[in-house]
């Protein structure tokens, strides 16, 4: 008797055959992230970032932040755009942004990748403040949400390349970020991230700790009547200079603007080889302990 009662309690009642079931929850671009911007979720995220995610990321990626004053004086809300080399990029940005920006920031994340399953969507939204962005097609819903959040005073972090680079070289920028910034009339700030591809690139199966650079550009205030394409071109020019600066130094990047196009004109092995040479200094250092003289994993995968 008790057992059958238990069964009755635990088993969902069957649906009558004539009753049409509708899906109560949705995923992808339709995933509702409103919960992640409620006070309890924000407090949780703030604590997790402050005491767990940011310290660990700094340990792994050892970032050098260049032009920090830009961040300190940035007027918010703003759209922050960056090149995209690795999953580490989001974490790295969050760990260097000042608290004032970070705690009121949402991140545009690929709806197909981060919101394909409910659990994944929930965690992305809760821990990173991610919102789903449709990257394969123009989505009214994604841009409406972005606009709405900017208007409410949230900062928006976007990767206009639309996805991680397959080979470490930058890709074509999409104009969506510029379009949103124009629509709301907020500044757009380019930031160049250097070195995360070597730490955890698209094909890397394991994480390799190392050093990275985060270089802030200058905020661009859109003028009314500007076309999104024109605005994103300004962003592109800034990123091209910052990219050269990451490989050389401030002066060389501006005095000898050659090579290092953003994105490069061709994508052969030479471009990767020459372009990323600064990532492989002759003398290597590792933060891992050396066992039996080993300094790099060389065994079976």
């Amino acid at each position: 008797m008790t057992q059958s009662k238990l069964h009755y309690i635990l088993r969902r009642p069957s649906l009558p055959g004539s009753y049409l079931r509708t899906r109560a929850h949705s995923t992808g671009a339709d995933y509702d992230t409103a919960f992640s911007r409620t006070p309890p979720a924000r407090i949780f995220r703030s604590l997790a970032l402050e005491y767990l995610i940011a310290p660990v990321t700094r340990q792994i990626a050892t970032p050098t932040l260049i032009n920090q004053d830009v961040l300190d004086t940035l007027e918010t809300p703003a759209v922050i755009v960056s090149n995209h080399e690795s999953h580490l990029d989001t974490l790295l940005l969050l760990s260097v942004l000042p608290r004032r920006i970070r705690e009121r920031a949402v991140i545009g994340a690929g709806a197909d990748y981060f919101f394909d399953r409910r659990t994944k969507g929930f965690l992305s939204a809760l821990l990173l403040g991610a919102i789903p962005i449709e990257r394969t097609k123009v989505s009214r819903r994604s841009s409406d949400l972005s606009v709405e959040l900017l208007q409410k005073g949230w900062n928006l972090i976007l990767f206009p390349e639309g996805g991680r680079t397959p080979d470490g070289l930058p890709q074509e920028l999409k104009a969506g970020a510029a379009q949103v910034a124009l629509k709301v009339g907020v500044p757009i700030l380019p930031i160049y991230l250097d070195g995360t591809y070597e730490l955890l690139g698209k094909d890397n199966s394991r994480l390799q700790p190392g050093k990275t650079k985060v270089i802030c550009g200058k905020p661009i205030h859109p003028q009314t009547g500007m076309r999104p394409q024109a605005l994103i071109e300004v962003v592109r020019q800034q990123l091209e200079v910052l990219r050269a600066e990451a490989a050389t130094d401030f002066w060389k990047a501006r005095s000898q603007p050659r090579g290092r196009h953003f994105p490069p004109s061709s994508r052969g092995w030479r471009e990767v080889w020459l372009d990323r040479s600064h990532r492989y200094p002759a003398k290597e250092t590792s933060s891992w302990p050396r066992l039996f003289g080993s300094s790099r994993p060389g065994g079976r995968d």
């Binding site: 080979d167 470490g168 070597e198 080889w273 290597e284 003289g293 080993s294 994993p297 079976r300």
Partner: protein
């Protein structure tokens, strides 16, 4: 501090016990009085600035060859072949010398505007390298730039479509090598010359060849006539490779050979007692020997193996030579001999040797019984010039546990060879005639060789041929501390202690035999007069 030369020690009553490798462990054995022990020269001083040495070699090639920069031009096809994971042993601490050379070559190619570059691991019939091993060998920078574009490849001796027949030598040997390498405007070969067998024309003629071509020198007849295959001027194996190499050169294939030599600084500081002479062991050496020996004896073999295979050797680079193959190889050999050669007067009745945990064919894997056979009778026995260290009809005593363990992923054909061939016969000639063809053509082995990380089906046969000269020469082989059933299947005799082994050997070579011990590590080569 200059390196002290090698020498031959005569054992007397005050000589401390001698170190023997014993697989994933060591043992200290007291050799009988007036035995001789061959100690190799100490590690030669290493080049401080290897990168500059490489640049110099590329700019100042040996022999009839232009500097590398003069050979590079935009629009050319460049192939860089490199030695596979079987060298050096154990693997080097990063950066691997190959990666430094490859980076230097790629840098120049990039500056010269060469778009069409391909890296090829010169596997011959060895197993394909794992991604981690590749990354270690070519370096992360080259790996990241070339791998995603499919420009980092591994030679496939069974890919008939990508083989090019160069022709036949005057002895009728077929020469057939990697099509990409043969059709390139320039083939750069990056080698590590750990022992004197490596390098020279063997690099391309064997490393990039097909089974049909390799079989012309990897056979019993050639191996019995290679005395030894470590001495290229008395080695039929090398004569055949040199004939092939000259044919390749005459066919107009441009090869820029870069050979590198290492010193014998094989073990990191935690195992430094391994490369010191026993009477010079200080308190720390003695303590770490006792601790390591005791702990390893209680460690399960699989774990002990993992520990040893994670060792990376702090080898120092002693030479980088580039240019025309034969001119380069002469310079290389001189350097190898300088490091490894010890002059010995007269042969011996009994030769003793300890086998380590690793040989060329079990990097990151198990030293199976067939590899024990090959390392002892193939490699160590042949570490001589002029005359074998042991006399005709003499005995070799090996120290190794010889457990019947195999790696099914790397050595699938070895298991079948052990179970299906060695149970029938151990005679290399019969094995070659009766079984080689079946194993070499077995489609499953070929599949695993081409797509997995397995040695080619014929590879265990080569292991067996490698020992053919020794089998022909010796009166008996005794394995001290080996698993008796396994040792018998190899055609050897098991003994539990060195004294038992010496008694057994005495019954073969006669009373009061002379004993010589090949002290290893590090590598030593005997120059016997």
């Amino acid at each position: 501090m200059t390196a002290r030369p090698g020498f031959v020690l005569e054992v007397d009553r005050s000589t401390p016990p001698t170190l023997f490798w014993y697989g994933e462990n060591f043992r200290l054995e007291r050799l009988p009085r007036s035995s001789r022990i061959l100690y190799p020269p100490e590690p030669l001083p290493a080049i401080r600035d290897v990168r500059t040495a490489i640049e110099n070699a590329l700019d100042n090639p040996a022999g009839d060859q232009k500097p590398l920069d003069a050979l590079l031009f935009p629009g050319m096809q460049l192939t860089i072949a490199f030695d596979d994971v079987s060298l050096p042993l154990p693997q080097m601490t990063a950066p691997d010398i190959r990666s430094l050379v490859i980076e230097a070559v790629l840098e120049r190619a990039a500056q010269a505007g060469v778009e069409d570059v391909q890296l090829v691991a010169a596997l011959a019939l060895h197993r394909r390298m794992t991604e981690g091993e590749l990354k270690h060998a070519v370096g992360k920078r080259a790996y990241n730039a070339l791998k995603p574009r499919g420009l980092l490849t591994q030679h496939d001796a069974e890919d008939q479509a990508n083989m090019l027949e160069i022709g036949h030598t005057d002895q009728g040997e077929l020469v057939e090598i990697n099509r990409r390498a043969a059709e390139s405007d320039l083939l750069v070969y990056v080698n590590i010359n750990l022992v004197s067998m490596d390098g020279g024309h063997k690099s391309v003629a064997t490393g990039l060849a097909s089974y049909a071509s390799i079989r012309h020198h990897h056979n019993v007849k050639t191996m019995v006539q290679s005395r030894s295959f470590m001495d290229r001027h008395s080695s039929e194996l090398h004569s055949s490779n040199w004939r092939m190499g000259r044919l390749i050169k005459d066919a107009g294939i441009k090869i820029f050979q870069i050979e590198t030599t290492l010193n014998t600084n094989t073990f990191p500081d935690s195992f430094r007692f391994l490369q010191r002479r026993e009477w010079e062991w200080d308190l720390r050496d003695r303590a770490s020997f006792v601790a390591a020996n005791g702990a390893l004896a209680k460690t399960p073999p699989a774990l002990a193996r993992q520990i040893f295979h994670s060792i990376r050797s702090p080898y120092g680079v002693t030479g980088v030579n580039a240019g025309e193959v034969e001119a380069v190889h002469d310079l290389t050999l001189a350097k190898v001999f300088e490091q490894q050669l010890v002059r010995v007067e007269g042969q011996t009745d009994i030769l003793t040797m300890g086998l380590p945990f690793v040989g060329p064919y079990n990097v990151n894997s198990i030293m199976n019984p067939i590899l024990v056979y090959c390392l002892s009778l193939g490699y160590f026995f042949n570490m001589y010039r002029h005359k074998p260290l042991v006399r005709k009809g003499g005995v070799v005593i090996i120290s190794h546990p010889t457990r019947p363990e195999f790696d099914p992923a790397f050595h699938p054909s070895y298991i079948d060879f052990y179970e299906q061939v060695l149970t029938e016969t151990t005679d290399p000639l019969i094995i070659e005639q009766k079984y080689e063809e079946t194993f070499a053509r077995d489609p499953w082995y070929i599949h695993l060789y081409r797509t997995g990380n397995a040695y080619h089906g014929v590879h265990p046969f080569y292991m067996w041929y490698w020992g053919a000269h020794a089998l022909d020469h010796l009166g008996g082989v005794i394995v001290m501390g080996g698993d008796p059933k396994t040792v018998r299947r190899l055609g050897f005799k098991p003994a539990s202690t060195l004294n038992d082994a010496l008694e057994m050997a005495g019954s073969i070579v006669g009373a009061n035999p002379t004993v010589t011990h090949l002290h290893s590590p590090p590598l030593v080569m005997a120059d016997v007069y």
